[in-house]
């Protein structure tokens, strides 16, 4: 795949993200979820301001843009493994792995090696976007299913054993 093609691909993804946002916003206008989402957004703004500048560091190595290691501070398997999975789902990526070099240091390394059609930073960004898309869909699907009410409900938890 040519680099130009990759770029179009990324634009597609951006469009998807915005459409997913709209979907969420539409859902949010109904019932109690609205207030909850608003506060979540407020939290996000506060958090964004709090993220230190050295949250991600590029681990020194070769100057090859298709082969890089990123060091995430204050992250663990939660982001490491799910991000690794999403990056590996990218067909332009040759290799992706993560490690936590030492258990008493709150650091997590992600190594990405790509084909010439893209580069490690681009692949990492696509990984972030894809993971966000996935999560947004999981939330909307879960809420839809809750609204359907097609399940056994008992306030006390006395469910029938089937």
């Amino acid at each position: 795949m040519s680099p130009a093609k990759t770029r179009t691909h990324n634009e597609d993804i951006d469009e998807d993200v915005s459409s997913a946002d709209e979907e969420m916003a539409l859902e949010g206008t109904e019932d109690m979820m609205e207030t909850e989402e608003n506060t979540e957004d407020a939290d996000a703004d506060a958090e964004e301001a709090m993220v230190p500048a050295d949250k991600i560091e590029i681990v020194a190595g070769s100057s090859d843009p298709t082969c890089m290691t990123f060091c995430f501070k204050e992250e663990d398997h939660t982001l490491g493994n799910s991000l690794r999975h999403m990056v590996m789902k990218n067909p332009l990526v040759d290799y992706c792995g993560y490690s936590i070099p030492h258990p008493s240091e709150a650091k997590m390394n992600v190594h990405i090696q790509t084909t010439d059609a893209t580069n490690a930073v681009e692949a990492l960004n696509k990984g972030f976007d894809d993971l966000t898309d996935l999560c947004q869909h999981v939330i909307s699907k879960f809420k839809k299913e809750l609204k359907n009410g097609n399940f056994e409900y008992s306030p006390e938890g006395n469910w029938s054993q089937n």
Binding site: I13, D16, E36, T39, E40, D43, A44, A46, E47, E48, V51, P52, A53, K55, I56, E57, I58, F70, F72, D76, H77, T78, L79, N81, S82, R84, H85, M86, M88, K89, N90, P91, V121, L124, N125, F128, D130, L131, T132, L134, C135, Q136, H137, V138, I139, K141, F142, K143, K144, E145, L146, N150, F151, E152, Y153, S154, P155, E156, G157, W159
Partner: protein, 347 residues
């Protein structure tokens, strides 16, 4: 194009043998299987992904998450345990404590009491921040044990003999600060449960403390964990490869929990049939018997997660899951600018 059966098993099932479990990690990545495009595709994911809620109560829920990888399901589980914020007692100011429980033990016990307050309505309190009505909830606990006048003669139960022989979570008195009384008028802040034993007192002993609750997450201290448990298991699958009949069928049925295997009459003969593999505990008892060798195959469906969430009481279980996934989204949102900064690009 579909894969040959053994490759399809490799791709979609965890195989359970008598003495080992193999084929555990997922291999469904691009260029892995001929004719199968495993690359990420949101539209395809939307088609395949399913959520099935099985049961819900005020504190507990079970649901199926179908079509996601273990790394994603595990991220949700880990966030539920360690990164969804709640409120918990963090500061204990001891005015007086003459009980036999030492100050520090008392403070620890108080910290573990689940507090019923919506954490989304509060801010995290930074190291430098002073307490405000937006980041701190204040409780007072002031109890004194005294002899009861007119206690029945010969009574031995401390409850009959003394007042406040037990200090319970219901003795915590919420002190609304600033606009809190207004904001929480509909749902006053209180401990989730009223009958948590904090300390025992005897006549003359007294506890007088002021408690400050802060917002926090489970990875800092388990008292902030919003769940009692959050776990998943993979859907079990039992495949009978060759018919199991007669007395063997009964024996086969007994290898599984009740309700997993049914025995049907077919041509005047008993025949074992799988009716509900979901109820199987995958004890592998069946694999211990020679007569069932090569007749049964136990597997688990690799992308079918049976999720169980038990809330500690502050947040209803259905909201917990939504918040957990939200935490992951926010995490990424916050990191992206940092990546742009690190690589010297504009976001």
């Amino acid at each position: 194009m579909s894969l040959p059966e053994h490759l399809e098993t490799l791709r979609t099932r965890v195989v359970i043998e008598k003495d080992s479990v193999h084929n555990v990690s997922s291999s469904d990545y691009p260029h892995q299987y001929p004719g199968i495009d495993s690359s990420w595709n949101l539209e395809k994911f939307k088609e395949q992904f399913q959520v099935k809620i099985n049961r819900l109560s005020d504190l507990e829920m079970e649901f199926d998450l179908i079509g996601v990888d273990a790394s994603i399901a595990n991220a949700f589980r880990r966030i539920l345990l360690a990164e969804v914020a709640t409120m918990a007692i963090e500061k204990v100011y001891v005015m007086n404590n003459t009980s036999i429980i030492q100050d520090e033990v008392l403070a620890h016990r108080l910290g573990l009491i689940p507090i019923k307050a919506d954490p989304l309505l509060f801010d995290f309190k930074g190291e430098e921040d002073g307490p405000t009505d937006l980041n701190t909830i204040v409780f007072k606990l002031n109890v004194k044990c005294e002899r009861k006048e007119g206690a029945p003669k010969g009574a031995t139960d401390p409850k009959d003999l003394y007042t406040n022989s037990q200090v319970l979570s219901k003795d915590l008195v919420w002190e609304p600060k600033g606009e809190q009384a207004e904001r929480f008028a509909d749902d006053p802040i209180r401990p989730v449960l009223d009958d948590i034993l904090i300390a025992k007192l005897r006549p003359g002993q007294e506890i007088d403390v002021e408690l400050h609750c802060h917002k926090g997450v489970g990875k800092e201290h388990a008292k902030w964990s919003p769940v009692a448990t959050a776990s998943y298991r993979l859907l079990p699958e039992i495949k009978i490869l060759k018919p199991i009949t007669g007395a063997d069928a009964t024996k086969f049925q007994k290898c599984f929990p009740p309700g997993v295997i049914d025995i049907v009459e077919e041509n005047g003969e008993k025949l074992a049939k799988v009716v509900n593999a979901r109820k199987d505990t995958v004890s592998r008892e069946v694999l211990r018997h020679k007569e069932f060798e090569d007749k049964v195959r136990l597997t688990r469906v690799r992308d079918h997660f049976i999720f169980n969430i038990e809330s500690a009481g502050a947040i209803p279980p259905q909201d917990l899951f939504v918040q957990a996934v939200g935490v992951l989204i926010e995490k990424i949102k916050a990191i992206k600018p940092a990546l742009a900064q690190a690589t010297g690009e504009s976001a």
